[in-house]
Symmetry: C2
Amino acid sequence: MQARQIAVAVPTVTVQDSVARAVRLMALSRLPGLIVVDARGRPRNVLPGTQVLQMAVPGSYREDPALVRAIDEAHADIFWQELGNLTVGDCLLREPARVITVGLDGTLLEVAALMSRQRSPLVAVVDQVGVLVGAITLDRLLTRLAILDPDI
Amino acid sequence: MQARQIAVAVPTVTVQDSVARAVRLMALSRLPGLIVVDARGRPRNVLPGTQVLQMAVPGSYREDPALVRAIDEAHADIFWQELGNLTVGDCLLREPARVITVGLDGTLLEVAALMSRQRSPLVAVVDQVGVLVGAITLDRLLTRLAILDPDI
């Protein structure tokens, strides 16, 4: 089985999109991460879900558990309203690009090794010129593995 | 809102369970990770899904993309049949314990900061003596945040 056979179309974001939109998009599409594409439709970053969440959690809270515990419940419920106009690009400036991609003919093992090595439950599938064709989620990979091996 | 209000019951594994069973359990329950509990029902490890997958990908494949590309498609489809009797405990021996837990009264912000800091889309919710009560997935957290904030 090849990557092209299990890839599915997924919504994407660009660096101009707001973090709020990115989080909402991921939640609505129930994806375990998001792919950031450039103007030519090539993946610029593949973000595991926890990294998308990280963009929505102010840095001071991320690094200081004691501070987080001091925030009362009412304010903790609405923490992400502080995001304002923060964009995906604002957050990714500080991060090295992580382009977690596989070619159309990538095998299940290649996808599994990539997810495992990069700790990403999402892999972008790209064509010969690097344009995004679809994505493979961990969930989808495992389902295919289970189908191929019904005895385990 | 508190952790106790959004935690859900999840299937768990122990160190005696086979890796094959763990992967299948995660796939069937569509969880983004797994909680390993001890004999008293206390979380011993909280494993992000990619780490569960990692247990199923032989180490030589994980670290060597060139080797992985050399494996033909037919063999790549069934790589995880090589697991044999490998147990969760066998794999975790090499790993430091990562107990990613929050108390029953943890806030949404506390859960979000923890997921983000630990890069885990799964958090264990424990009672006063550390026994597992339930789990919160990234998906569930985001859904709750979106409910609380319908305008974004």
